[in-house]
């Protein structure tokens, strides 16, 4: 029982980090109908920015916001200078989703090459700002540590901020309108292009946070070749698809589900099945509900 609760706690922490990644992917998908395979690469670049700020200032609480700003800036830059011209050329057809994915894959390669050029074999270091020793409950240490509590707190805070933006502000309303019906939004005076860039920027900040938290929660350091970030992206994407790719709440639900189930499998069945389990979970969910847990059925048919 004790072990099981610990496994759940580990799964929820991992899932909450995936959920930020999933949100980044969903926001980009909603604003431009593109799956951005460079999300992991952008998070990696922002995490490196965070690591160098941490090295200079020594404060995690300055490094995290700066990394988020950097992530937002990188992401908006890419949307404006790369994706917008690309979509103009390809005419925003649904058929071209494969080409757009491959283009962002190329972007990922370039980002990684630039990071390798700058950092080489160096690693960015982001040690945990709080103790990662678990709290002691009735003589035994549980998997909930001050660090994990901080991670859950940050994710929860960001969720509240995002919910507020989407439900209570004009920006949020425009974001929702622009993704729901771009033509009509344009007619009612929303500057759809600008709103899309804003969507990408928010996604970049969410991805950067996911990257920083994943690094502190994991090994505490990051390299330009990081396989961890590839996995972070893959699990974030899988979670987003489970949640229905259109829905932010779906992304969170999908991520927590994925995080908890993977933690249980890792605990009781061994590490070699974890990756395959992610595939099995995805297939099972999609067989039952082909458009995800909170998907719009039959919506947006081209």
């Amino acid at each position: 029982m004790f072990e099981f609760v610990n496994t759940l706690l580990i799964g929820i922490t991992a899932g909450s980090i995936y959920s930020l990644m999933a949100i980044a992917i969903v926001l980009v998908w909603r604003s431009t109908r593109v799956i951005n395979f460079a999300t992991g690469g952008l998070a990696l670049a922002s995490t490196f920015v965070g690591a160098s700020i941490l090295e200079k200032t020594g404060s995690f609480w300055i490094a995290l916001p700066v990394a988020m700003l950097a992530g937002a800036a990188f992401s908006a830059f890419i949307e404006y200078f790369f994706l917008r011209p690309l979509l103009k050329r390809s005419g925003e057809k649904n058929q071209e989703i494969f080409l757009a994915i491959i283009a962002t894959l190329g972007l990922l390669g370039i980002i990684k090459a630039i990071l390798k050029f700058i950092y080489g074999d160096e690693i960015g270091s982001l040690p945990p700002p709080l103790s990662d020793k678990g709290f002691i409950v009735s003589g035994e240490s549980i998997a909930l540590s001050p660090l994990r509590l901080m991670i859950l707190g940050i994710v929860l805070l960001l969720m509240i901020v995002l919910t507020f933006i989407f439900q209570r502000t004009n920006l949020g309303l425009s974001l929702r309108a622009a993704s729901f019906a771009p033509e009509i939004s344009r007619l009612s005076g929303i500057r759809v292009d600008l709103i899309r860039t804003a969507g990408w920027a928010i996604a970049g900040a969410a991805g950067a946070t996911a990257g920083v938290l994943q690094t502190t929660n994991g090994s505490g350091s990051v390299s330009p070749d990081s396989f961890e970030f590839t996995l972070l992206f893959v699990f974030g994407f899988v979670a987003a698809v489970i949640g229905g790719i259109e829905s932010l709440i779906g992304a969170v639900v999908g991520s927590l589900t994925l995080g908890v189930i993977l933690a249980i499998i890792l605990m009781y069945l061994g590490s070699s099945l974890v990756f395959f389990a992610a595939f099995v979970i995805l297939i099972l969910v999609l067989l039952l509900r082909p458009s995800g847990i909170i998907g719009v059925k039959g919506g947006r048919r081209a």
Binding site: I35, L105, G106, L107, L273, A278, L286, L287
Partner: protein
């Protein structure tokens, strides 16, 4: 050139010419180049399987590396447990992978766009790692797959790598001949129809589900052959031979070749093999930095990929064709 039709006879002559050129080259080039040539042939088969699925039937796959893995393991297990000759191993790889492809296709036929991309991506990450779970698959070290020494009748100086090149080229030529025929058949036409408009295709009597599953099955079978060929050149099958990067490389090659036309399949394959070579020799000559030598190939491939998507989204062949017809 009035109404000049390219018939199957012309194509056969073209295939034979390619075979002849490879035969002549294989007698001239050194060991390493012969090995690279075999790798090109493997990529030709792998990329063709993606082009068939994505370019013709409109289903996205980012997970073809996993299908290659199934083919490679099927070939190796057939050799180990039935001590079958090489060509039987290849046939087994095709059939087993096609079978898995049919199951996967049945699930995939209900999915579209991002859902299918996510599913195939998860497959590419997940499938190779289960080799560690079953001892029959040999874990991280993998299991061996031996193409055997070239027959003595070919002479004593006939090298192992030249033998690989011959096997891979012959397999590639035969499978490409078959693929281009099927793409011109009733099935190929119905795949293109459902890619361009599903509703219209359904109204003209095409069973969407069955057609999509068939495309997935055929594509998987070809990918299985590519996997068995890859195992031949590596002498071994292990999870590390099928990383996510392989799936991405195949998709990249498909875009570089022009994903909507089979004709360009050589371009992407040669690019994937040649660019790292060129980049290495370039950085050896111009820069002493080891760091640059490591990152240059990836950088060039990525940049080329982005350029292709921007300048020739339909692929280099279509680009030339449209320029000609102007």
């Amino acid at each position: 050139m009035h109404n000049h039709q390219i018939t199957n006879k012309h194509r056969f002559i073209g295939f034979a010419l390619i075979g002849l050129v490879v035969y002549i080259l294989s007698n001239i080039v050194d060991e390493w180049t012969a090995y690279q040539g075999a790798t090109v042939a493997v990529f030709v088969v792998a990329i063709a399987s993606v082009i068939l699925l994505t370019g013709y039937s409109g289903q996205i796959s980012l997970g073809h590396g996993a299908l290659l893995a199934i083919g490679a393991y099927a070939a190796a297990l057939t050799q180990i447990y039935f001590s079958a000759p090489l060509w039987i191993c290849f046939v087994a790889a095709v059939l087993v992978t096609a079978f898995f492809g049919a199951i996967l296709g049945a699930a995939a036929a209900r999915l579209s766009g991002p859902y299918l991309a996510g599913t195939t991506l998860a497959l590419a990450v997940g499938l190779p790692s289960i080799a560690n779970q079953f001892s029959i698959l040999g874990g991280e070290q993998g299991i061996s797959f031996d193409a055997g020494w070239p027959p003595l009748s070919l002479g004593e100086t006939f090298t192992q790598y030249k033998w690989f090149l011959w096997i891979a080229t012959l397999a590639a030529l035969i499978s490409m001949w078959w693929v281009q025929n099927i793409l011109r058949s009733r099935y190929g036409r119905s795949w293109r129809a459902l890619k361009s408009n599903e509703v219209a295709a359904e109204l003209s009597g095409i069973t969407i589900g069955r057609s999509k599953v068939l495309a997935f099955t055929v594509s998987a079978g070809i990918a299985g052959l590519a996997g068995a060929l890859l195992a031949t050149t590596l002498n071994n099958v292990s999870p590390s031979a099928f990383p996510l990067a392989l799936s991405f490389a195949i998709a990249t090659g498909a875009v570089l070749s022009g994903v909507n036309t089979l004709g360009g399949v050589m371009i992407g394959s040669v690019a994937l093999v040649a660019i790292p070579e060129i980049a290495t020799s370039f950085s050896d000559r111009w820069s002493g930095s080891e760091n640059v030598a490591v990152l240059l190939p990836d950088f060039i491939v990525s940049a080329l990929l982005i350029l292709t998507v921007f300048l020739a989204p339909k692929g280099p062949i279509e680009k030339l064709r449209s320029r000609h017809s102007k």
